[in-house]
């Protein structure tokens, strides 16, 4: 609960002595426990339950009695940890003096050399691995569905990474483009009967178009203000989707959206269906596996385009814009076009992902596109280390796959009682994780980044030298 920092004087003293100043540490921990006690009155200590028209209070002081000592112990542990670390730092290691700064490949380079082919291989073989492990297509449905969900977020993360990670424009309304893509496909296919393969590029184009429309007014804004305005735009689009009932069917959403076809061949048990044409036994899982590969290809396309764009002048302009907008403008880069391309290309991939979402779910409603969704995508980008493609993928796996694992930990129910539902705590942990990430590693899991363009010599840029977010 409390930040891992103690007053500098006490840590200096403990560093020279090599042990903890117990009196100060205990006093501070007691203070932390006291604060925890104050915070738990009355929110934690009394639960409000409604019975009829009245509210009843259900006292839960036992919970407070458990939590306060936990906070006390945690705080003490943090003190012990920081003191020993400070002691170790005070004694120089013999390796430090001889260490050459860039001689060893950085952690990032190691990850990218072996990690990327590994991840790609696992992603490609995932349905087969699950098939073998689970022993059947129908049994592996849960895992492939989870794979699809994670890949959707990987794609959204990569899309937003263009805007936030490369161009440094903090966009809190990214989900709006996701919504535009989803509704484009849903409306075009239900009203005109167009196939998914026509609607997919159209949805992307429409989302890109909205990216430009919403990008234009915010060109002059930077930092926090930009973030808030994009948040407002995202909310406006969601509220319009709820209230424009004639077009969008309001909060009830659009149901029975046509399913995806294998380039025109439907996934059904008919004579001209996918299974019959390919001489397979019909299984509804064919469609799911197909969707898995579809989103994998879409995500890889996003990654491929981003990586290529980074080497083009526009990509370099994005990164320059992220580092310093004023310098960028003085060097003759058209910041307006640079920002608009970032917004529209990021939005386009959001639109693709949105139309994939619609075709996969078969049902969409405005509730799928609330601010929290934007925050989750942003958290994926931030946690991955803004600008790092592989980091975003890892973060998506952790943030989307992690809660699913939490859901399956049945032994937790044995510890916390029958009524314990770990899923309730998903967002709680998520919010706390976002704060912890900012405090502990503000530059994300993979904070080092490779320069896109190299002059003569390859050097790793330490994350601390880069000041992004000034866009």
């Amino acid at each position: 609960m409390n930040a891992p920092s103690i007053t500098t004087t006490s840590s200096d003293v403990s560093a020279t002595r090599g042990r903890i100043d117990w009196a100060a540490a205990l006093k501070d921990s007691a203070k932390a426990a006291l604060v925890m006690f104050g915070l738990s009155i009355p929110l934690l200590a009394y639960r409000t339950d409604q019975s009829g028209a009245d509210l009843l209070l259900d006292p839960r002081w036992d919970l407070v009695a458990i939590l306060c000592p936990i906070i006390f112990a945690l705080r003490l542990a943090i003190h012990a940890f920081t003191a020993t670390r400070a002691y170790r730092k005070a004694v120089p290691s013999p390796r430090q003096a001889t260490e050459v700064v860039h001689a060893e490949p950085s952690a990032f380079q190691k990850v990218s050399r072996f990690g990327i082919p590994f991840f790609l291989g696992v992603a490609l073989a995932f349905p087969f691995i699950v098939y073998v492990v689970q022993g059947g297509l129908n049994e592996s449905r849960y895992w492939i569905d989870l794979g699809i969900l994670i890949l959707t977020y990987v794609m959204l993360g990569w899309g937003l990474n263009i805007v936030v990670g490369l161009a440094g424009l903090l966009d809190l309304g990214y989900v709006a483009f996701y919504a535009v893509g989803a509704y484009s496909y849903a409306l075009l296919s239900t009203t005109f009967g167009w196939s998914f393969w026509i609607c997919l590029p159209l949805a992307g184009i429409l989302a890109a178009f909205w990216g430009i429309i919403l990008g234009f007014p915010v060109l002059r804004l930077r930092g926090d203000y930009l973030a808030i305005v994009t948040l407002a735009f995202g909310e406006i689009i969601r509220l319009v989707l709820i209230n424009w009932v004639e077009l969008t069917n309001g909060g009830a959403g659009i149901a029975s959206i046509p399913r995806a076809t294998f380039f025109g061949i439907p996934f059904n048990s008919d004579e001209d269906g996918f299974a019959a044409l390919f001489g397979l036994e019909y299984s509804p899982m064919h469609r799911i596996v197909f969707l898995y590969y579809l989103i994998l290809i879409l995500a890889l396309l996003t990654n491929f385009v981003t990586m290529r764009l980074r080497r083009l002048p526009v990509g370099r302009a994005w990164e320059a814009l992220r580092e310093d907008e004023i310098a960028c403008r003085s060097l003759g880069i058209n910041t307006r076009n640079t920002k608009l391309t970032a917004f529209s290309i990021g939005a386009m991939f959001g639109g693709f992902a949105g139309s994939f979402f619609a075709v996969r779910q078969g049902f969409i409603s405005p509730e799928s596109f609330n601010f929290l969704e934007s925050a989750i995508i942003l958290a994926i980008v931030v946690m991955g280390g803004m600008g790092s493609q592989i980091g975003v993928a890892i973060a998506a796996i952790v943030l989307v796959g992690g809660p699913e694992i939490l859901r399956n930990l049945t032994f937790l129910q044995a510890v916390f009682g029958e009524g314990f539902d770990p899923n309730e705590y998903r967002l709680l942990l998520f919010g706390a994780g976002m704060v912890a990430m900012m405090v502990w590693r503000p530059r994300g899991l993979i904070s080092e980044r490779q320069p896109s363009v190299i002059l003569k010599e390859r050097k790793a840029i330490s994350g601390s030298l880069v000041k992004e977010g000034h866009g």
Binding site: L55, R220, I228, L372, F430, G431, P442
Partner: protein, 306 residues
């Protein structure tokens, strides 16, 4: 005409609540230049604290006088919400001072998600209604078509409390050494620390004052609407932020003025146009103000430093 006057009264009541929240945004932005995204959720937390104390006071201790109960609840809610504000600043913002510019905003989004889900987990996802506390209304005048223009005691209480607390707060910022330190930090943090001002403490106190005023707003919100839920922090928070920007961020009278304007716009929009789109109106105003007049009505124009 009658409807107009009635909406004017309702709008000013709502506007006082927004103004109180807006002060928290504007002070924090003024002093450390960040949008405290979690402020709306601190407001929501305070409404829950007030709710629980209301129930304790009225049903367990049997205090029948609504005004006495309200005063006690207000003091307790202000104290405990201040503690929340202090803790949030200590854990989520203070370690980030000197980090890259967007780090505090992202951290604040995390706090906002944490707080609303914390309340959801510990208090449940349902709306929490309170028994009506102050029900009486005063009929100001009767319209020709039988439409009565009325002001309820609730509304009077809200406006009076807001006015009183604002003046106390105004005195605090303008006349005390704390306020002087705060204004010094706002102008130049480094210089202020050179002159012996404890900057960390001043920033902490800013968060505490902001949270205390949010607690007043939370209690008044509960009194006015009689219902609160864990998700009630986000939209009032955004509206109050709009108010802060509209009034000129960093300016305290501006925040109150902006709050009143936003409250009036919302009620009139709901009365004369469409109630469904009232949040769209609020968000649009936010976008328009930020884009076209980012320095607001009473704010100083921002000078771009290279």
């Amino acid at each position: 005409m009658e409807i107009f006057v009635q909406q004017l009264i309702n709008g000013l009541t709502l506007g006082s609540i927004y103004g109180l929240i807006a002060i928290g945004y504007t002070m924090v932005f003024g002093i450390i230049g960040m949008v405290n995204f979690a402020h709306g959720d601190v407001f929501m937390v305070s409404a829950f604290i007030a709710l629980i104390f209301f129930v304790i006071l009225t049903t367990w201790l049997g205090i029948s006088s609504a005004l006495v109960a309200l005063l006690i609840v207000l003091v307790l809610a202000m104290a405990l919400t201040s503690l929340w504000g202090w803790t949030v600043e200590r854990i989520a913002y203070r370690p980030l001072r000197g980090s890259f510019r967007l780090a505090p905003l992202i951290s604040a989004i995390g706090v906002s998600i944490f707080l609303s889900n914390f309340v959801q987990v510990v208090q449940g996802a349902r709306n929490k209604p309170t028994p009506p506390m102050v029900g009486e209304v005063i009929v100001l005048f009767q319209g020709e078509s039988g439409y009565n223009v009325a002001i309820s005691y609730k509304q009077i209480i809200i406006m009076v409390f807001t006015a009183v607390l604002l003046s106390i707060f105004w005195y605090l910022v303008q006349k005390t050494s704390l306020g002087r330190a705060q204004r010094a930090c706002e102008q130049d943090r480094k210089m202020a620390s050179l002159l012996g001002i404890n900057v960390d403490r001043t920033i902490s106190l800013t968060f505490v004052i902001g949270a205390a005023l949010a607690a007043v707003a939370g209690t008044m919100y509960l009194l006015y609407y009689g219902v609160v839920s864990f998700s009630d922090g986000f939209v009032p928070g955004v509206k109050a932020f709009t108010a802060a920007v509209l009034g000129g961020i960093g300016s305290l009278p501006g925040a109150v003025l902006g709050g009143l304007i936003i409250g009036l716009i919302e009620t009139f929009w709901s009365a004369y146009f469409s109630i469904e789109y009232k949040d769209v109106a609020a968000f649009s105003i936010l976008a328009i103000v930020l884009i076209f007049m980012p320095s607001g009505i009473l704010g100083r124009p921002e000078v771009e430093k290279v």
